[in-house]
């Protein structure tokens, strides 16, 4: 056979090819997740520890007034449930970015980036795949929480889905953006200290903002400008069939900004250009 007999190249990609690619990336991410049972268990144990131990202990200390979207007094466990759902997504987003750094170090990332499909699309698929995995974790958490008497209105399980998708995309995009700037896996511990913990604690996940304002106005503004706060509030309202428009706008805007940043950073002619070759290569 000569080279002339080989089929000529087509330009562009069909919708079906994009769909196959998306499906393949989500499938691979789900397979990896299922193979890593410890990851699934730890993703659930973390918020459940907060729910069963921390919330139970602080129930008597942290009194809550009636604040939207709640129409009556609620238990502290009910208050922190949306924050814990967002926490699952925050950790998952960072876990995904950790796996991207790992994949880059191990070389697996090249398989993805050498695909002929546009890079923005590949990274978006990766983001969607990570979000899909986080949804599995959040719904598993909600199921267990239901047995703990944390039961939002039945319709809330559906209405919260778009909010979870958006917040999952935002936190995943943030993780992707961070991963683009991390050269070695060892540096990732810093992400825990400088991103995850500050984002989680300086938010409305554990205490309502008005209580924070009472104790520290400065911290209140930090929380107010923290996109994670708005992810929590978006989920909280959606769980009760309502929309917090301010949070929706902020989470939507941050998602776009982080995604554009991540795609820019992974563009070979921009972000990756500053990096040297992997260890041992030249």
């Amino acid at each position: 056979m000569t080279s002339a007999a080989i089929s000529p190249v087509r330009s562009g990609f069909s919708f079906a090819e994009y769909l196959i690619c998306l499906n393949g990336i989500v499938w691979r991410e789900a397979l990896r997740f299922l193979h890593q049972r410890e990851r699934f268990i730890s993703a659930l144990v973390r918020p459940l520890v907060w729910l069963f131990i921390f919330a139970a202990g602080f129930r008597q200390v942290l009194g809550l007034s009636i604040i939207p979207p709640y129409e009556t007094y609620i238990l502290y466990e009910v208050y922190i449930a949306p924050g814990l759902m967002a926490m699952i997504q925050l950790f998952n987003g960072m876990q995904s970015s950790l796996s991207m750094v790992y994949d880059r170090e191990m070389g697996n990332m090249r398989t993805l980036l050498v695909s002929p499909l546009p890079r923005w699309f590949l990274l978006s698929c990766k983001l969607l795949a990570g979000t899909a995995v986080s949804l599995l974790q959040v719904y598993a958490f909600l199921l267990i929480a239901w047995f703990w008497d944390i039961a939002p209105p039945p319709a809330g399980y559906l209405t919260v889905l778009p909010a979870l998708v958006l917040s999952g995309l935002m936190l995943g995009a943030l993780g992707m953006l961070i991963s683009s700037g991390i050269k070695q896996l060892e540096n990732f511990a810093g992400v825990m200290n400088f991103v995850i913990f500050p984002m989680f604690f300086a938010s409305s996940a554990l205490y309502p903002l008005w209580r924070i304002l009472e104790s520290s106005p400065m911290l209140y503004y930090v929380c107010l400008f923290n996109p994670f706060t708005h992810a929590v509030e978006l989920i909280r309202f959606a769980l009760y069939g309502q929309v917090n428009w301010t949070s929706l706008a902020i989470v939507g805007g941050c998602t776009i900004a982080f995604m554009v940043g991540a795609i820019y950073a992974y563009d070979p002619s921009r972000g990756l250009i500053r990096r040297g070759p992997a260890g041992g290569e030249t």
Binding site: M1, T2, S3, A4, A5, I6, S7, P8, V9, R10, S11, G12, F13, S14, A16, E17, Y18, I20, C21, N23, G24, I25, W27, R28, L31, R32, H35, Q36, M106, G107, N108, R110, T111, L112, L113, V114, S115, P116, L117, P118, L122, D267, P268, S269, R270, L272, I273, R275, G276, P277, A278, G280, E281, T282
Partner: protein, 273 residues
């Protein structure tokens, strides 16, 4: 076009964008490419072409710039200066078309160890937009060709080093590329596994007309009929048929020719031909 003509060098490489049909273009054309990491210059104005259906060895010591060049061809790095074309498709201007024609085996392993052989192939197929049924068929085909048909369900982690390399080659062939790049594909393998892989790749050239760029620092992987590009400290020192390179360098074999060209000794443990 003869193989010697194909090695026309960076200065005289034809303008690929003006070619009316991609089929007439070289499998790979590197034209005036330079790349630096900060102040360190990794590639300096290099240029060569790979003729369609040829086996071209890219010979260079560790640190010569081979992997940097591969990263530029595969668009992992942006091209800072110069042009790279794959069958006439400019990598920077039309990456989708160019990468579609390209199969690549990188120096580090790029397989997912937790997935099975078949799952790795199906994932790669999806990244090229190949539907699942077609992907399964092609996977079985390439696995049979590379002697891995009985390992389709095995976890990649359980494969030997040689089998992993063969799997990477199978994966690179899955989307039926016309140009195959292999970066130090035999590093870390025993003598038999090295010979097997080299034979497989040479068969792809002779039986299927696939063009191959084979990066290596091992002289015994270069055949007397191969096209050769000598890369040293980011510069192309010689290119052409092996016999021509040896003669032009005034050496008696590829080993002495290489030493004359680079002023260096052979890499330790590197066999000579």
């Amino acid at each position: 076009m003869t193989a010697i003509d194909a090695f026309s060098g960076g200065q005289n490489t034809p303008d690929i964008s003006s070619r009316p049909e991609a089929a007439e273009a070289p499998a790979l054309s590197i034209d005036g490419v330079s790349h630096s990491y900060g102040v360190r210059q990794a590639l300096i104005d290099i240029g060569f072409t790979v003729a369609p259906g040829s086996f071209t060895a890219l010979l260079g010591l560790n640190g010569a710039g081979k992997s940097t060049l591969f990263s530029l061809i595969t668009r992992l790095f942006g091209i800072q200066r110069g042009h790279i074309g794959i069958f006439g498709h400019d990598v920077a201007q039309a990456p989708g078309e160019a990468l579609r024609l390209l199969g690549v085996v990188f120096q580090p392993r790029t397989l997912d160890l937790d997935l099975s052989v078949m799952q790795n192939l199906l994932y790669h197929a999806a990244l090229h937009g190949i539907a699942r049924r077609d992907a399964r068929e092609r996977s079985r085909e390439v696995l049979a060709r590379l002697g891995l048909a009985d390992r389709a369900g095995s976890k990649v982690r359980d494969l030997s080093g040689g089998q992993m390399r063969r799997l990477e080659i199978a994966r690179a062939l899955l989307h039926r590329p016309r140009l195959l790049l292999l970066d130090e594909a035999t590093v870390g393998l025993d003598v038999k596994a090295r010979a097997d892989i080299l034979n497989h790749v040479r068969q792809l050239v002779t039986e299927q007309g696939i063009s191959v760029l084979w990066a290596t620092h091992l002289f015994d992987e270069i055949g007397s009929d191969d096209d050769l590009v000598v890369l040293h400290q980011g510069q192309v020192l010689a290119q052409g048929k092996v016999a021509r390179v040896i003669a032009d360098a005034g050496g008696s074999d590829i080993n002495t020719a290489f030493m004359r060209l680079t002023g260096s000794t052979a890499p330790s443990g590197s066999p000579t031909s």
